[in-house]
């Protein structure tokens, strides 16, 4: 797991503390019971703040899973800010 992925896992853990690190990599808005609209908005805010980016919210469907977030970060080449 690279640093970018590890940081994304921490973001998910903060919003979904009931999940294990393994469960997070497979997490989606349909498989995680606590992933409602509030959790979704919170997750967006946490990820934006952690990576110092503004997520394009015109297509929110891409941010409905851990993999969706990770793919976005990879595509926009958001690296280590520190």
């Amino acid at each position: 797991m690279d640093e970018q992925q590890a940081r994304l896992v921490n973001c998910f853990l903060a919003v979904f503390p009931e999940l294990s690190a393994d469960e997070i990599s497979a997490a989606t808005s349909t498989t995680v019971q606590s992933w409602d609209s509030v959790a979704g908005v919170t997750l967006l805010a946490v990820v934006e703040e952690e990576f110092g980016i503004t997520l394009e919210t015109d297509d929110l469907s891409r941010f409905d899973s851990f993999q969706g977030f990770l793919n976005y970060l990879r595509q926009t080449e958001v690296g280590d800010r520190h």
């Binding site: 903060a14 609209s37 509030v38 908005v41 703040e49």
Partner: protein
């Protein structure tokens, strides 16, 4: 605080065992991340309690304040934004606005303000309340361009201010200071238009975090400190009283020391609010009394009590002050420019908050006073506050000092280093200046012309010792000079001066120990002469000789070594 930190904090708080603090956040917008930040900040402040933070319904601020009043919460937090006064003042409304609607918006806002005032006052009878007035900029509804204040906007602001004045009369209601929020986060960095449109949460995360931190402090109501003990030199005034003299210390524009007057004025303000202010200074008490007799002081000496001016460790002065005040150390702040003095007091009185007075920057002094205001601030000054100071002054206790602390341990912890240089040539200008400038720790007050000083040093039987000091807080440089003659088996010291800043670091004892190590003598003779100002030298020699010093007083090597042994531990020094 970052949102991820706030989330983790609130999760960890769930496992706390303490009593639950029930809080209610009443807002008209979706509180979302603000609620998270606020819960986390309350967790930090109320560290021994579980936090339960409820909120109400979206879009119903007035109803939420009623819900707050009917709940069993201890703490109520009310957040008002412009759309709460009229929904047309927000971006989520689709209602029209225009010049014709402005009057109606104002009328609606007036009615809503009256309703909110009543609801908040009622809630304030049941819970401790923190109220925050609009923090976001008004939308561009006014007719005037943005750089011009329109009558519409001014009327809205006046309505809000009238609300704050009315509800602030209640003892239980406290208003968040908008100026403080402005200092922490500028207006332009607060509004998140996209977030408000998407979710109804109008704040940027930075604003939500800053606002939550301040709201938690308003809700907390920490007990203000009760007493401030301050140093004098380079604190109440610029300069060293013992070196610069009564007229040489300053606090004015001419000497670029005006911010010391600002500090004096603040001390005066604190005393008028019932805060006890005392002095703990290593200084000649006679000089201090004369300095406080200056008619240009910005603070009245009559209100300062007690005034401890002596050459003993400050922890002992502070112990006497605490006894006189009869308050606990944790209600007291000690201010000094010297990190070593602060460390000594902190070690002896761990409950006291010790703060370093900034000396290099006017802006830093201003910020320092702001910090003191936060420590001593209270909602109102009571009559009891003023009475307390006067009654303490009248019933002053002269009991024994409450506690002391080993200076040796402190110097060890400060990594104090004293170095000695015995070179006589070339003539050291700093040493010469010290001899001619020092008054208080001075063996006899003799002043030298440069030619006389050179002549003394050129004598083959003369010696010169220049001591330098540094510790982990920084160097003091060259701070002591001893000079004299070797006369058979007698070492005769006819010049000995030390800077006031170096007192209470045992350097004077180290000087004698160094001479004992360097020279082979049976006796040291001191060419002592009492002067008007060399009290500290007199006290030191009394301690070494165990009798009051007189001209030509002396001590044998055996007695000197025994005396030093009883006072000091062995320590490494470096010689040059």
């Amino acid at each position: 605080m970052k949102l991820i930190e706030a989330l983790n904090l609130t999760r960890q708080m769930q496992s706390r065992k303490g009593e639950t603090l029930r809080c209610f956040l009443a807002s008209g917008f979706n509180a979302l991340h603000l609620k998270t930040f606020l819960a986390a900040e309350l967790c930090l402040i109320f560290a021994d309690r579980k936090i339960e933070l409820s909120d109400g319904l979206y879009g119903d601020l007035l109803g939420n304040v009623d819900r707050l009043a009917k709940s069993d919460c201890e703490v109520g937090i009310v957040l008002i934004e412009w759309p709460d006064l009229d929904p047309r003042l927000g971006i989520r409304s689709t209602a029209r606005w225009g010049a014709g609607e402005l009057g109606d918006i104002l009328a609606t806002a007036r009615t809503r303000v009256q309703q909110l005032q009543q609801a908040i006052e009622e809630a304030g009878q049941r819970a401790s309340m923190a109220v925050c007035l609009p923090t976001l900029p008004l939308p561009p509804f006014a007719v005037a361009p943005s750089w011009q204040a329109s009558s519409f906007e001014m009327e809205l602001h006046a309505l809000v201010h009238s609300l704050s004045s009315a509800i602030a009369q209640g003892h239980q209601v406290r208003i968040l200071n908008a100026q403080r929020l402005d200092l922490d986060l500028p207006l332009k960095d607060r509004h998140d238009i996209e977030s408000e449109a998407l979710s109804g949460f109008p704040y940027r995360l930075s604003h939500a975090s800053a606002l939550a931190a301040l709201l938690a402090r308003v809700a907390h109501r920490p007990a203000p400190k009760k007493g401030l003990i301050t140093d004098l030199d380079e604190t109440v005034w610029s300069g060293i009283l013992g070196e610069d003299g009564v007229d040489g210390v300053s606090w004015d524009l001419e000497h670029h020391s005006q911010m010391h007057a600002f500090y004096q004025r603040f001390l005066g303000a604190l005393m008028s609010e019932g805060v006890m202010v005392a002095i703990a200074s290593k200084n000649d008490p006679v000089l201090v009394e004369r300095a406080f007799g200056r008619d240009d002081l910005a603070v009245s000496a009559a209100d300062i009590f007690p005034m401890e001016a002596n050459w003993k460790p400050k922890s002992q002065s502070i112990a006497r002050i605490l006894d006189a005040w009869n308050i606990d150390a944790d209600a007291v702040v000690f201010v000094d420019d010297s990190p070593l003095e602060l460390a000594e007091v902190r070690a002896a009185h761990p409950g006291i908050e010790c703060l370093q007075f900034p000396t290099k920057s006017d802006a830093a002094i201003y910020d320092f006073v702001l910090k003191l205001r936060d420590l001593f601030g209270k909602s109102a000054v009571s009559e009891e506050d003023s009475i307390r100071n006067e009654s303490i002054r009248r019933s002053r206790s002269n009991g024994p000092a409450r506690s002391g602390f080993g200076i040796e341990e402190l110097l060890d912890q400060a990594e104090a280093e004293v170095s000695f240089n015995f070179s006589k040539m070339p003539v050291d200008q700093r040493a010469f200046d010290l001899v001619n400038k020092t008054n208080q720790f001075n063996l006899n007050g003799t002043r030298y012309m440069e030619s006389d000083w050179r002549g003394l040093l050129e004598d083959p039987s003369s010696f010169l010792t220049v001591a330098s000091y540094r510790d982990k807080f920084g160097p003091l440089g060259k701070i002591a000079v001893l000079a004299g003659m070797t006369n058979g088996r007698t070492l005769k010291i006819d010049t000995w001066v030390m800077s006031c800043r170096a007192l209470s670091r045992q350097i004077e004892f180290k000087c004698l120990r160094e001479l004992a190590a360097r020279f082979d003598f049976d006796e040291i003779e001191f060419v002592y002469q009492q002067t008007e100002r060399n009290g500290p030298m007199r006290e030191f020699l009394s301690e070494i000789l165990t009798v009051s010093p007189s001209p030509g007083c002396a001590i044998s090597r055996e007695d000197l070594e025994a005396r030093l042994e009883s006072v000091m531990k062995p320590q490494e020094v470096s010689n040059g």
